[in-house]
Every structure is written in C-alpha cells, then in structure tokens.
Amino acid sequence: MDFTFNETQEQIRESVARICADFGDDYWLERDREGGFPDDFAKAIAQAGWLGVALPEAYGGAGLGVTEAAILVQTIAQSGAGFSGASAVHINIFGLNPVAVHGTEAQKKAWLPPMIAGKERACFGVTEPNAGLDTSRIQTRAQRQGDRYIVNGQKIWTSTAQSAQKILLLARTAPVETTPNPLNGLSLFYTDLDRKRVTVKEIEKMGRKAVDSNMVFIDNLEVPVEHRIGEEGKGFRYILEGFNPERILIAAEAIGLGRAALRRAATYAKERVVFGRPIGQNQAIQHPLAACWAELEAANLMAFKAAALYDAGQPCGAEANAAKYLAAEAGYKACETAVMVHGGMGYAKEYHVERYFREILIARLAPVSRELILSFLAEKVLDLPKSY
C-alpha cells in the first residue's frame, strides 16, 4: 500500500495552486456578491491546459486519470475558490467522458479539442423536476424524424446553462410503456444549446452565485443523429459509467473546501484573544477542529482509494459513493465548525467562512443525496433488499 502522491501529481497540485493564488479571497467574495461567471478564472485554468487532464492525448488532453483530475479540482476548492471555482470548470473535466469512451472518431475530433481549449463550455442536462433522483422516470422526449431527433421537455438545476454553448442531454427515445426496463429507453446527446429552442431560467439559490443553475425548457430542439453518443437506448448506461468519477471529484472538492474552512478557523483561533488568551487555547475550540481534520483526512483516503481503483480499471462503486458521503459530511462539519469558531464574525461575509458554509451544502445534496448513497451501500455492500 502506498499512500504517497507521485512527482507528477505533486506538480499538478503545485502548479494549479499557483494559478489559484492569482484569484484570492476578494475575487471570490465579489463573485459571490455580484454573481457573474468567473470567466477569467476559467480562462486561466483552460489556458494552462488543465481542462484536458483526464481526456485522451490524441485530442489534446493529457490522458491522466481521475486521481489527477481529483487533485486538480481539490486544489481549486482548497484555495478558497470553493464550489464557485470548482463548479466553474467541473463539467469540462470529466463530463465529456462518455464522448471520449463511446463517441465516434469524428465526434471526438469535433468536440473534445474546443472543450479542452476552453472555447466551448458544456452543461449537463440530466435532472428533471418530475423525476428527481429516479432517473429512470425522466420525461424529456427525443423523437426520431429522419436524420434528426426532435426534443421536447424540461430539465432542472442544469448548471452553467446561462453561458454554455453545448449541452450533454439525457432524453427518452422510447416511451416508458414500450421498454420493460425504463432505463433502456434513454439516449445521450451532445448538442448545441440552441437558444431559439431552449429557454434557460436561472434559479435563485443559497450559494455559489457565480455559477448559475437553471431551469431549462426545451421546445422542439432539433438534434442531428450525429449528435447522439453511442447507441440509441444505452444513454443511461453511458452516464452511469461516469457516476463514479463524478462522485470522486465532488468528494475531492468537498474535502478541499473543508480544508480551506479549517485553515481559516485554526488561524482565527490562534489570533483571537478573549478572556486574556487565544480562543484556540481552549479545548472546546481545539477539539472540534482536530476532529474535523481527522474526518476530512479519512474521507480523503477513501476518495483517493476510489480514484486509484477507478484508474486501475477496477470496480469502485461502493468506495466512490462512500467517499462522496464521507467527504460531504466532513466538509460540512468543517465549514460549520469554522463559522462557530469565528463567533459573530463567522456570520460576516468578509471572513469568508459563511460563504463556504453555504457552498458546502451542494456536496451534500448533489449529484446524489446522502440517503440514496446509503441505500445503495446497504443494497450493494450489505446485501440488504433494494429500497429505492
């Protein structure tokens, strides 16, 4: 067992941290106040080639694994950029994996290079208002008409759809009634987000104001057959393959943000003097912080174990889901503790931890909830009856 990062992985952390250092606390504070996509940050990350970390070398990527991608997004979150920074580039890092794996040569050539270069931004249209976590029940329809599909339906929470040129879209190509397993009637498309046919409405939300999430109304969107990824009816399976890396990246981000909160809290605890002593000299302050450290690092081990399994081509469903669960909970506890350690100042925006606290909730809610992860683990690991 080797728990050390190799030279390249260390270099990735170091180089990404340097880019992030140019986007300090004030930058993210302002993005959180004013909203507006962090374009210059996303551009800096793209220009240094980072979006291609896990995509094949033949199309301009670096061909590295989810381990390296996780280091990348964790470093971003940990710099204090949190989910405002990580979500700004997240989908571009692993989102197009179905294209890399199942796409045709022509599709890869056309789609991967502009994404890696940061010239095109994609959004991810899976969740629907009437289906929730039960993806088998999505209703958005893609009906074949000659050499194209006509898509109608509604997506919700689709992040970055305000500015994305492309959408990775899961839609139903066969009605539920005609498929014994409703998951088999779904197909995956990567297509232009044609704003004449698609209306995007931003959802006002609790945190991460800089990176929009939206309601997306699709009205007779025409999608050429060449924009379908892989075979008709296998879309859910393609998406499913990407779920584990997705969970690992979210876990890495949550741990990164938790570490940022902990760093701030520890610094404040050393400096703030009340009753004639630094508050950090009290064990009531020390112990929760130490516990946060232990829990974050334990979650981190699980995340990178899952990543190592994935990169070695081994099953990692239980580990990836457990990592996302542990990391979201540990990250949440760290952010909450950081607010409490700051006392009243924890509630003031200029101390940053309240922003972290609002952002870390995303990791607990999406892309899958705690409850569903636990149901999954109970079923797959403990062999209990399936409950969902």
Partner: protein, 249 residues
Amino acid sequence: MKVLVAVKRVVDYNVKIRVKSDNTGVETANVKMSMNPFDEIGVEEAVRLKEAGKATEIVAVSMGPQACQETIRTALAMGADRGILVLTDAELQPLAVAKILKVLCDKEQPGLVILGKQAIDDDCNQTGQMLAALLDWPQATFASKLELGVSDARVTREIDGGLETITVTLPAVLTTDLRLNEPRYASLPNIMKAKKKPIDTVDPASLGVDVAPRLSTLKVNEPAKRQAGVKVATVADLVAKLKTEAKVI
C-alpha cells in the same frame, strides 16, 4: 548557446520556519519543500532566452537527496531541456556547491550559468561568486535585467544606491534578483512533456569533489520575539518619544 541553471530545493517560502528542538537546525521533516524562488527566476530567464532564439539548450542542476529530482522536474516543466541530479546526503555548503558546479561547467561548457542571488533557507549569497572565482569567469550578480549578445551580456544590477549597468564577456556567471522577471507556472502539457525529459544522476565522489563542510554550525535559535509597539495620540507625543525614549532625534 547552452545555459546551465542551478536549482535548489528549499523549505517553501510560505512555511513558517521552526527550529528543531535540539537547536541543530531548522525542521524539514514533513515540511513543504519547493524550488528556491530566485532559482525559479533563473529558470524563467533561461527559458526566455531559449524562446528568443538566444539559448539552444537549458540544463538544470540540483544537488542533495533523491527528492531534489522533483525540483529538477519542475524546472523541466517550466522549459529546461534536461537535468543533472548530484545525489548526496551530505550537508552542502556554498563552497562545495560551487566546486561541483565548476566540474559540471568544465564538462558541459555552458555559455552562461544562472543561479539565484541567494537561497531562501541559508541566505548565504556566496555560491555564484565562488563559482565565478573557481571558473575564473566574469560575474554579474543581483541581475534585474539581462540583454544577451553573442560574445557578451549587458546586465543591470540592483545595488544599494540604485541600478548599475555592466557588460560581462561570455562565458559568465549571473545571479538573479527578484525583479529580473516573473516566473511562469508550469502548464499541464509541459508537465507531461517534462516526464519524458532525461535526468542524469551523478555523485560528488564521481565528480572528484570533496564536499566535507568547512564551517560547523554551533547552534540555531529562534529570533527573539518582537515586542508589541506603542500607540501615540499626537504628533507631539511621537516627537517627544523619539527624542527621549528612542533617542533618534
């Protein structure tokens, strides 16, 4: 022209330095290490020379334990072409480093050697000067600007009174000051390329250099804690205190 750059692995500039409990040195176990910032400026300058078509090859040299290979790899990711690792667990003092570099210069025949003006760990500010003396080459230290010609280099130096511009004939030794340039960050494609660039490993004995320390460290102490300052209410108060307490006016 070949350019040789020296890159030292030091405690990262962001780390709060702690003195070992036995007062023999500073704590380096489990401490983040990175390339000496002045050496990074050196690598950057060399890469710019290459991009401008003035340098043909950049060789990065580091000395110390195996981990120094990471520092060389960073230089390669910034744009150096190959590396030389002088592997040793010995404590290296400036004279030993200068002697090793001298042997490597004899072998490699660079037109220019770039070092940091000092390393941020021991702050010695000696190696470049010693190397120039051993090679009997001209030296341009504390460089804040370099204009490289074919047979000489015009160098602007930061000195106490301001800026001094000198010309040195090549080959020469240059040491970098903070304002020479702003080093780039390694991009992912360059990190990937660096993995394939060669690093030779040699050791001081095979180079015929005796690296035994010539200076011995007696004791390392934390600097005394600074006392808190005092606030004064008025200018008159300030002047009075400067006169009677600080006795500077």
